[in-house]
C-alpha cells in the first residue's frame, strides 16, 4: 500500500467531483491510497497567477508542498495545471538554493519552510511507471472494445520538456498505452498535441479566442471518428466539455462529443457505475458512450 496526499486543486473537487471520486476508487485497485490533503489550496493556477507574480506563485505552490512535507507524504494529483505549479516549484526549489532561499523568506512570514523532502507525481505517471500497463490491463472488468478515443494530453503535463520527466513532448505514447490497456483504440487526429486554449488566463480574458482553439481541436477529433475525448486535466476537461455548450451558443457548431478524465474512463472499465463517476455533472451527455461499451 502506497499512500499519497491527494492534491485536488480547484476544478476537480469544485466542478467535476466525479474525477476526484473515480481517481480515489480506481487507485485502490492497485494498492494506492489517495489521502485527504488537509488545508491545501488552489495550486495556484500557473498561467493566471504566475502571470501576475512568479515569486508569489512559487510561494503559494510551495506552501502546499510544505503541508505535505510536515506529514512526510508524497503528493499525487490529477490536473496538469496543478502539476505545473507543484512539480515545477518542487523541482526548481530543490535544484536552485538561491531561489529556495528567496521563496523561503516569503514563506517565513506565514510560518512555513520548504525542505525539499517529498515528490510530486501526476497520477497518470504513477499508473504508467509504478503500476504498469499490464496491471492496469488486468484490472479491467468491462473491456472498452470498439471505442475510438481521442486523447488530449494537455500542455503542462509535458512542457516545458526540460522541467518534466517524460521522453517526448511532441510524440509521447504513455497515455495512449494506458488507454489501449482498457481495450479502447487511441486514434490519431490532426494537431493532437495542440493546446485546448484555456490556459494562461485566456479563458477568463478572451473566451472567444480560447473557444476558437478548442473548436479546432473538437473538429479535428470528430473528423477522425472519435467517440470520446479523454484527458488528464480537469481544466482542459472543462474547456472541452463546457466549451462545447459555449461554442454552440456563440458559433453554432455542434459536436456532442463526450469528455472523460482518464480516471473516469478507467472507472468505467473497472465496472464503476455512472452515478459513482459523477457523469451527471458533465455538460455533454455521456450516455451514448456508455450505451456503446456497457
Amino acid at each position: 500500500m502506497k499512500e499519497y496526499n491527494f492534491f485536488l486543486g480547484c476544478i476537480a473537487p469544485n466542478r467535476y467531483p466525479g474525477i476526484e471520486a473515480s481517481a480515489v476508487k480506481t487507485s485502490r485497485e492497485f494498492g494506492i491510497e489517495l489521502c485527504d490533503f488537509k488545508g491545501a489550496s488552489c495550486c495556484p493556477a500557473p498561467g493566471a497567477f504566475g502571470s501576475m507574480d512568479i515569486n508569489a506563485w512559487l510561494a503559494l505552490a510551495a506552501r502546499n508542498i510544505c503541508l505535505s512535507e510536515k506529514e512526510g507524504k508524497d503528493i499525487a494529483l490529477v490536473c496538469n495545471g496543478c502539476y505545473k505549479s507543484l512539480f515545477e516549484t518542487n523541482y526548481r526549489l530543490k535544484e536552485n538554493p538561491e531561489l529556495r532561499e528567496k521563496v523561503n523568506s516569503v514563506l517565513a512570514n506565514a510560518g512555513y519552510e520548504f525542505q525539499g523532502t517529498q515528490e510530486v507525481r501526476h497520477l497518470i505517471d504513477v499508473l504508467h511507471k509504478d503500476v504498469g500497463v499490464e496491471k492496469v490491463k488486468e484490472s479491467v472488468e468491462v473491456p472498452l472494445t470498439g471505442l475510438n478515443v481521442a486523447i488530449h494530453y494537455g500542455c503542462h503535463l509535458l512542457r516545458p520538456k526540460v522541467e518534466r520527466i517524460f521522453d517526448s513532448s511532441e510524440r509521447p505514447v504513455f497515455f495512449d498505452e494506458l488507454v489501449e490497456a482498457l481495450g479502447a483504440k487511441s486514434i490519431d487526429y490532426k494537431e493532437k498535441m495542440m493546446c485546448c486554449g484555456a490556459g494562461g488566463g485566456v479563458r477568463s480574458y478572451k473566451i472567444d479566442l480560447a473557444l476558437d482553439m478548442v473548436n479546432e481541436k473538437l473538429y479535428n477529433m470528430t473528423q477522425a471518428g472519435a467517440d470520446v475525448v479523454v484527458n488528464v486535466c480537469p481544466f482542459c476537461h472543462l474547456q472541452l466539455d463546457r466549451g462545447q455548450l459555449e461554442i454552440k451558443e456563440k458559433f453554432g457548431d455542434v459536436y456532442d462529443l463526450p469528455v472523460l478524465h482518464y480516471s473516469q474512463l478507467l472507472g468505467i472499465a473497472q465496472g464503476m457505475s455512472p452515478e459513482e463517476l459523477g457523469l451527471s455533472a458533465h455538460v455533454i451527455d455521456v450516455e451514448p458512450l456508455l450505451a456503446k461499451v456497457l
Binding site: L8, C42, H156
Partner: protein, 186 residues
C-alpha cells in the same frame, strides 16, 4: 579611445520616436531568463504558436521588443493572449524560453497595474477562499451524490489556513495591486 559622435549610447537610443529602455531586458533576465538576449529572430515560436494563428499575438515580435527595450509591449492587450502552452519554448533553437519571457513581461506589467481585471478576479477568489474556482451549492450536491463530503478537505474545510495565503499575497505586494486596481475600476 575617446568617444566619438558616431558611437551609440544605449541609454539614449531611439527607434523612430520610441525611446528604448535597455533596462527592460534586464528586468526580464532578473527572472532567471539569462538566455533571453540570445533570440536571433528565426520565428520558430510564431510559426508553431496556436494562438498566433487566430490573433495578433506574435511571439517573435514580443521577443524583439523586449530585447530592444520597447516598453509599449507592456501595454499591448495581445501580451495576455498566450495560453502558456510552451510549444515555442520546446522548439526554440536558442532556448530563450519565450513563454517565460512573456510571463516575466506580464509580471512587469502587473507591477505597473496593466494586468487585466480578469486576472485580479482570480486572485480575489484565492484571497477570499483559497480556491481560484471555489465550490458552490450545486457542486456540493454533486459531491455528495458521488459519495464525497459536500466540501473538499482543502481550505474549504479548514479555513484557518486561508490567512497564510493572505499573508503571502500581502508580503509579495500583490494584495496592494489588487486593492488599488479594484478601487480604480469602481
Amino acid at each position: 579611445m575617446m568617444a566619438t559622435e558616431g558611437m551609440r549610447n544605449p541609454k539614449h537610443e531611439q527607434l523612430g520616436k520610441t525611446v528604448l529602455d535597455p533596462n527592460l531586458i534586464k528586468e526580464v533576465e532578473a527572472h532567471g531568463l539569462d538566455k533571453a538576449r540570445m533570440c536571433y529572430q528565426c520565428g520558430t515560436c510564431s510559426a508553431g504558436c496556436p494562438m498566433g494563428q487566430r490573433s495578433g499575438l506574435r511571439v517573435r515580435k514580443v521577443m524583439r521588443k523586449a530585447i530592444l527595450g520597447m516598453r509599449d509591449v507592456l501595454d499591448d492587450p495581445d501580451l495576455w493572449l498566450c495560453t502558456t502552452c510552451y510549444t515555442c519554448t520546446d522548439r526554440c533553437p536558442r532556448r530563450v524560453v519565450p513563454t517565460d519571457v512573456i510571463m516575466a513581461l506580464r509580471n512587469i506589467a502587473t507591477r505597473e497595474k496593466k494586468v487585466p481585471m480578469s486576472m485580479i478576479k482570480i486572485m480575489g477568489a484565492i484571497y477570499k477562499t483559497g480556491h481560484g474556482v471555489p465550490n458552490n451549492e450545486e457542486n456540493a450536491k454533486q459531491r455528495v451524490a458521488v459519495g464525497l463530503p459536500p466540501n473538499p478537505p482543502t481550505t474549504h474545510s479548514y479555513p484557518e489556513y486561508i490567512k497564510d495565503i493572505q499573508t503571502i499575497l500581502e508580503v509579495t505586494g500583490l494584495l496592494k495591486i489588487k486593492e488599488e486596481m479594484e478601487a480604480e475600476s469602481q
